[in-house]
């Protein structure tokens, strides 16, 4: 069933992709093939494969239980929040929070997770910012 759903999504994706290829604007420097042909070929391949998924699905993969799925969902949310908040809160705060959360969810004790979060945050900051000179997001603390 999972493969069939994937096939359905793939078909929708292919249809959307081919449609998006047809609205690529004309250019004054057009060549023989044009900018839309190759993407349309790709879209067709995606569609063919998706149809194949629907008619010849593989055995069902082992999906995690519902609360495990929620666990992954929360981790994704944390990652997205990290991505959004990083420029506002800065590297040190965001990383400590996100790394701490992940550490806790991956089986660390609460205290250990806090230490891991803070430790990783400071450790990475020292190595990448101070030693390697990489630019990290600056937060309200000014560092």
């Amino acid at each position: 069933m999972s493969d069939r759903i994937m096939g359905g999504i793939g078909l929708a994706l292919a249809a959307f992709y081919i449609w998006a290829a047809t609205i690529i604007p004309e250019s004054f420097m057009a060549d023989v093939v044009g900018p839309a042909t190759f993407p349309i070929i790709i879209g067709v391949i995606i569609a063919i494969c998706s149809v194949w998924f629907i008619f010849r699905p593989d055995p069902e993969p082992v999906w995690p239980s519902l609360n495990r799925l929620a666990e992954i969902g929360f981790a994704i949310a944390v990652c997205l929040l990290y991505a959004i908040l990083l420029p506002k809160l800065g590297f040190l705060i965001c990383t400590a929070l996100a790394a701490g959360y992940m550490s806790w969810r991956l089986g660390g004790t609460p205290v250990g997770a806090v230490l891991t979060g803070v430790g990783l945050s400071i450790g990475i900051w020292v190595v990448f910012k101070l030693v390697l000179g990489l630019s990290l997001a600056v937060g309200p603390l000014g560092i």
Binding site: D3, G10, Y17, A20, A21, I24, P25, E26, S27, M29, A30, D31, V32, V33, P35, F38, P39, I42, I45, I46, I48, C49, S50, W52, F53, R56, D58, P61, W63, P64, R68, E71, I72, A75, I76, C79, L80, Y82, A83, I84, L86, P87, T95, A98, A99, G100, M102, S103, L106, G107, G108, T116, L120, S121, I124, L132, L134, S135, L136, A137
Partner: protein, 512 residues
Amino acid sequence: MEFLSSLGVGFDAALTFSNLGIALLGAFLGTMMGALPGLGPANGVAILIPIAFSIGLGPLPSLILMTSVYYGAMYGGRISSILLNIPGDEPAMMTCLDGYPMARKGMAGEALSLSGIASFIGAIAATFGLALLAPQLVKIALLFGPAEYFALFTIAFATLGGISSTNQAKAAFAAAFGLAIAMIGVDTQTGVQRFTFGEVHLFDGIDFLIAIVGLFALSEVFVFLEHRGSDANKDESIGKIGRIVAPWSMIRSCIPTFGRSTIIGFLSGVLPGAGASLGSFLSYSVEKQIVDPSGKTFGKGDPRGVAAPEVGNNAAAGGALVPMLALGVPGSGTTAVLLAVLLSLNITPGPLLFSQNPDVVWGLIAALFIANVMLLILNIPLVGLFSRVLLVPVHILMPLVAMVSFVGIYGISGSSFDLILMVLFGVVGWLFRKLDIPLVPIILGILLGNEMEVNLRRAMTLSDGDWLTLVGSPLAITLWVLAIIGFVAPMVFGRKVKKAIAEESDEIAVGD
């Protein structure tokens, strides 16, 4: 000999104090990444590319760093195979079969040092093979026109699912998915926007580094979250390693094994669609057939069963660099990632690289030799230290992986948009892994998509719109036939090969 003088140039470029330091660092990091289950050569290198890029390492130092990590991971994979019976990365899974029984017999130290020597021999021989074979392949590649290149790229995609692929539709889907992503952004030929829908961040296309780090590294974090607590291996402990010197008699008994496995491994590395995993698998099975057909000692701690797969996978790792450097078409996941290294340094591999940037090519090859020697020196005495790395708990390791991934991607552009995109790639990577859709073709699609399209359009322009030009030369026809064979063969043999590998070992990690 021309080859020796070229190599001399390479060593000249590579042998500086800072490059040696970088090689040492890379070898050290690589061995650790290889040793840690869940971090393999592909995602290890993937995490490091954006960082090397952001701190502004030059082309040669970056290459040295990445190839040392690449070879180092191939060395390191064996450590957890032998000590814990968990392959540190996919190519190391065959090493479990005899390595772990050896460790159980109290010969862990011997197994580790023997496999270290085996890795060294395989890798050094393959590096020689690379230095000799790649220039020959370049001569053929110089005959290629746009139509042939288009066919060559098709071969790369058709074979990438690999001989062990059971569902070619999924491999093709992945490749097309990658190509579709590559099309996003400004069309280089006409300057029009494609698939950007007015989003400024998409005008330059999606950086392949974002996709690689998301698909390989971040998705691993989700996999670990999914399986947390269900690990059956928790009770395993690292026993005493003991003497870390293999007796000469043991090494001598393995010499024929070294020879056979080097050749098998190297060839399976060069051939598209095989790669290091198949290299180690073939070496092990052939060795078993030759030395121990009745299965008396193999699987019960035979030193030759440790040597064969280790020689095989390291030789294959070197062999896989041949098509990547000479043709610009990688044959495995990790070499696809190494191609990404080259592209992010604005170096386009392929025949022109050998004539235009000989210092880079030969410097790289020299770097491989240097990395190997360092790895041997590091691995024999320090193996005890590396085995300590295995004790790093997941709840520290995985947050570290995730955060370093974020740091690297943020370093490229400093935009939230890219980070969000990386997270989405991580989610897609996790979903695709569940559905058994391979990730490597996606990467290759993103890397090669534009080049492939450019060649198609160039060929069509030359022929004035005649599609038959794609099969217009004997060389092109040959390439198309190879592509078709490469795509169809796994449908026939795929299940058989996969079953054989699965029978020997049941744990498969991502990448190559």
